[in-house]
């Protein structure tokens, strides 16, 4: 018996990154902008998507991949808005992986403008998994508290957008909007921040305009 040392230097997330890049290339070739929504449970991902559906539906085609541990409830809420939705049930897993998106991929119509992915509600694990998205949005709701960015740094450092949700609650809850923005920008100076409320519509126009201009950018680069 001979002992041997083998140098490997291989990324444990390498296979996920490879599948994610393939998905990104395919979606890009079809001119579809893909957006990954990541947050703790109850931050308002599905409600924001319902609002996006209302605003985008007259002029754009969107679809939603829903990631949940159990139940088809979120997909049903999206379908009720007349938007196609595909439910991924992880059966206990705390995050979506690129290979799960790959399985759904053949069902996604090539004529979409926007593909939203609603990740499993969890501010930790989903941050490690590239799903082939063009834009990663981390959502943080007012009731969660303004101290969260530095407690969950990975989600905030890997996102391009921070969407603060339930902003209508700022008058009644002790949440400092300036402080949370500073904390998030400390971790990620490039982070683009939107302050929104699905209830009174605050910030939704700016957010949709950003997604639309990102879609044009993607198509211009690919043309």
């Amino acid at each position: 018996m001979k002992k041997k040392e083998v140098l490997v230097l291989e990324d444990l997330l390498g296979s996920n990154k490879k599948i994610a890049s393939e998905i990104r290339e395919k979606l890009k070739a079809q001119g579809i902008l893909t957006i990954n929504f990541l947050s703790s449970p109850g931050a308002g991902k599905t409600t924001l998507l319902e609002k996006m559906a209302e605003i985008l539906k007259p002029d754009y085609k969107m679809g939603v991949i829903e990631g949940d541990i159990e139940t088809e409830r979120d997909a049903e809420r999206i379908r009720a808005k007349g938007i196609p939705a595909w439910q991924i049930l992880t059966g206990g897993a705390c995050h979506l992986e690129a290979k799960m998106i790959g399985k759904i991929f053949p069902q996604i119509p090539g004529d979409l403008d926007f593909l939203f992915i609603e990740n499993v509600g969890n501010l930790v694990c989903p941050a490690s998994y590239d799903l082939g998205e063009n834009i990663r949005c981390v959502l943080l709701s007012i009731p969660e508290g303004d101290d969260k960015p530095k407690k969950y740094p990975k989600a905030f450092t890997t996102a391009q957008n921070l969407i603060i949700t339930k902003a209508d609650l700022t008058p009644i809850l002790p949440f400092n909007l300036d402080y949370v923005q500073k904390e998030a920008l400390d971790l990620n100076p490039q982070l683009k921040i939107f302050i929104t409320s699905a209830l009174n519509g605050q910030g939704l126009k700016e957010l949709t305009e950003f997604f639309i201009s990102s879609l044009h950018q993607l198509r211009k680069h690919h043309a």
Binding site: M1, K2, K3, K4, E5, V6, L7, V8, L9, E10, D11, L12, L13, S15, N16, A93, C94, H95, E97, V124, C125, A127, S128, Y129, K150, P153, K154, T157, D186, L187, N188, P189
Partner: protein, 114 residues
């Protein structure tokens, strides 16, 4: 808590490498884990201990080398290690920094019997 899923990825690589090198068994596995990798080293070890049973690495030990979060200021060129992941230069206050290390999740090497 995605450490189990990562350990499953690790074993895919281990089995492939063992086959390639015609190993009889794997005796040691060494990982590089960055402080901003999003995983807890202790959980990786627990997951590894559960997963290794009845595999080619059933007697292997898992070693983890922690990699600190290291950044470099693009303005004053200063390099620094940050425990808080804040991207502000301690020397000149610039916000233009480059991440040099600390996000790794890498299988560095394997020790095997052939």
């Amino acid at each position: 808590m995605h450490e189990i899923s990562l350990v499953a990825n690790l074993f895919e690589i281990l089995e492939q490498k063992a086959k390639e090198k015609k190993a009889k068994k794997i005796t040691m596995v060494k990982l590089q884990v960055g402080t901003l990798s999003g995983v807890v080293p202790e959980f990786l070890i627990s997951a590894f201990e559960i997963y290794k049973k009845e595999t080619i690495a059933s007697e292997a030990c898992l070693k983890i080398k922690k990699i600190p979060f290291k950044i470099k200021c693009l303005k004053c060129q200063q390099e620094m290690i940050k425990d808080d992941f804040v991207l502000i230069c301690e020397n000149c206050g610039s916000r233009q920094l480059k991440v040099l290390a600390g996000t790794e999740l890498i299988l560095e090497k394997i020790e095997m019997e052939v």
